[in-house]
Symmetry: C2
Subunit: 447 residues, 2 copies
């Protein structure tokens, strides 16, 4: 499990790069274009690698990490970067794919663009393939337009960002940022209680490489990522793109109640130690808490036993998360949920274990990286926070990081209905490319 992260905006002071809060884009960025049709084609072409189920039939994506569908998408990514002439391609110890393209000056760490090709079980086609395929499109277009950057460029497909099949989420990027070890990530457990691990799944698809795995062994000058917004800010404002000015805090908890076995029909109501009743009360309290604290909350997993037709449930495990833009309120939500759970445990005579699996404090990205995105957006964009974690909320712990939002239809995500138009996807890739070129200019000027 990811040891309770306590992340702020960044873990160390930003490096001494020359800041350039110009209103203008760098010269190379001003003329940069991308191929909208090619990007759109690839988003939908790669969506074929999806588990066949109701989500796929509805036009969504079901590509859990470490599955054969994940392998197919990974192989495609490898083939694309190889064909594009990457000077280096490697898979690291936790399955992340890194492709590096030469710059004019190869002694400096690359500027990276990355996201993830895995999805949740009932996901859409954009979170996070848009971030990977958009980045690929930027490199393709740069090559076609004869744009050579000062710094090398890296394209990254991060492993198990979603945590949908194996917990924790933010898999390889958390290892990259020093928040988790390779061994711990390999031991990531299946959410369905089957006992499968991410490490075994990655081995089974041939995606455990030699490394390097961390910022220390593979430093980046910066990391940029496109993501669908997953909220309605851009849509409401009529803006196709945005710069992400920070993220809301998230705490995830695993709660297990231990009761006592007993006969479902014959046991007196008084004296029961029914864990499913207890867990149900916690779930309704956790939902109420979101309204009273003006935050958000979700119970995302429940497992209960013994499985059968005639038993009081003697153990129930739930996973829930609370979200808030303010740290004090976030921590208050977590404490309140735990207190409510303890009260319910006491009322029903239950044993209780609770652990905070993940704690991401609210924070902001690096101002000079955000500024590069902001200039790339111009008046077509606006600032908005992200309400969840991404690979960029890990890379920002170790290197200048910023993120680009693409407008999302109705703010829907993690659903087959997730949608961004061709135009909005293209504009987000254009902003990504311009932001990288802006940052590249900063490096050139400041180095």
């Amino acid at each position: 499990m990811l040891a309770a992260l306590r992340l702020r905006g960044w873990a160390k002071a930003p490096p001494a790069v020359k800041r350039c809060y110009s209103e203008l884009n760098a010269p190379k960025a001003q003329t940069f274009k991308i191929n909208s049709d090619r990007l759109w084609h690839d988003i939908h072409h790669t969506a074929q690698w999806s588990a066949p189920n109701a989500t796929t039939e509805a036009g969504g994506l079901s590509r859990l990490s470490g599955t054969v569908y994940d392998k197919m998408a990974r192989d495609w990514f490898r083939d694309q970067v190889t064909a594009l002439g990457a000077k280096d391609y490697h898979v690291n110890g936790v399955g992340a794919q890194f492709a590096t393209f030469a710059g004019e000056k190869d002694g400096i760490p690359p500027i990276a663009m990355g996201s993830h090709l895995d999805s949740v079980a009932t996901g859409g086609r954009f979170d996070g393939p848009l971030g990977v395929i958009g980045a690929l499109e930027v490199v393709r277009s740069m090559k076609e337009q004869g744009i050579k950057t000062h710094a090398p460029i890296a394209l990254i497909n991060w492993t198990n960002e979603e945590g949908a099949r194996f917990f924790p989420p933010l898999g390889s990027s958390s290892v990259y940022a020093g928040q988790n070890s390779v061994a711990a990530l390999h031991a990531s457990q299946a959410n369905d209680g089957s006992g499968e691990t991410l490490g075994a799944a990655l081995h089974s698809i041939g995606y455990v490489g030699e490394g390097p795995n961390t910022f220390e062994t593979f430093p980046l000058s910066a990391h940029f990522e496109i993501h669908v917004e997953q909220q309605k800010s851009l849509e409401r404002a009529g803006k196709p793109v945005g710069w992400v000015d920070g993220w809301h805090g998230i705490s995830m908890f695993e709660l297990t109640f231990h009761g006592e076995d007993g006969h479902a029909n014959t046991y007196d109501m008084e004296g029961r130690r029914d864990t499913l009743v207890g867990a149900s009360k916690v779930i309704t309290e956790v939902e109420r808490l979101a309204y009273s604290a003006k935050g958000r909350s979700t119970t995302t997993n429940i497992q209960s036993g013994p499985v059968g037709a005639c038993n009081i449930q003697s153990w129930t495990k739930i996973v829930f998360c609370v979200m808030h833009p303010e740290l004090a309120a976030l921590e208050h939500m977590g404490r309140t949920a735990e207190e409510k759970a303890r009260g319910i445990a006491s009322e029903h005579g239950l044993g209780m274990e609770i652990s905070r699996l993940l704690h991401l404090e609210p924070g902001t990205f690096w101002p000079e990286a955000v500024d590069c995105v902001k200039r790339a957006c111009g008046d077509r964009g606006m600032g908005a926070p992200t309400l969840t974690a991404h690979d960029s909320t890990m890379t920002t712990l170790v290197c200048p990081t910023a993120s680009v939002f693409a407008r999302a239809k109705d703010g829907i995500s993690h659903c087959a209905k997730e949608w961004s138009t061709q135009e909005d996807c293209a504009e987000s890739a254009l902003v990504l490319g311009k932001a990288v070129l802006n940052f590249d200019q900063l490096l050139k000027d400041g180095a």
Copy 2:
């Protein structure tokens, strides 16, 4: 699934046997004895055939139907009845084991004693092995004491009474009583959603025989069963044994909520269609209902998805049961639970499917069979209702049936702590044997 059973005390009028409400036991019953040590030994000897888990370690039993442990216990039963000289032994089409021992008059249907060797996942050693092994002990003792009955005697190990691995419960006895078909029983689905079926499991352990499967093709003169009480009536009254004068009603429901996929962190609280929140509210309402209706209720199973770390739950399925001694109140509980669920579905914008999987109306056993048990108990026993269903609540639909209670420590059942003393087990077997001899005398006198 078992098509909503609507059972009353019996489905047709009791046959025209001569009633004999004597205070005395039949002559053969008056001297009958059983071997307490042998019975106690076999209860614990056979408990070795249990899945190795925490229940087994705690002295309980985990012998789910159709598993290798079930096969081992079945093989032992087959060997015992064969060694005892059964004139007929067969396995029927749904795995029930029938052994028949000759009487003085072989043209009449046998008097049966039976129960089940399967247990719930976290069960005890007595429910229902005591019923099978106690019956076996009666036949052994009769043989040793040279007691020959008028009617033949049948020993029965019924299949999947518990419904713990595969739904519905009361497996082979429901087929015997014409409440379910062989094909439907083979199609019984695994409660864990794995898609496994009872039929495939029975085939895998070699326990699908040729039949006969029903009362029509294998009639019984009567059916008697020992069961641990699963309540505290006998314990409170200081009685080691009891006659079961009837059963409480049970309705089981399967409820599925359909909502919408969405991101756990980013989706606005307003507008969510969170099925797990909805199901949790139903579970707490179902619990409350037991108190307000002065009945009982339990939610016995929950499954929810999509499985993952970051998704609002878009489908949740629960199974719950309500119990009451009075039919009108039972049906009111069922209707109220359904109304509450519809209100919650409406509040959360959920689609809902509900079906009543099983409906057992409260009823009573056959008076002349109960009287045989009552006389066998004498002043050592008392009458008490059972609060759940047994194989006998199926056989009573087609033939005179009664049941013997053994005192249970603290009324605990479906738990490793389930316990009856050696003395109480022995006394229940003695009552079983005497009751059979009493009924045999009725048959002899009345035939």
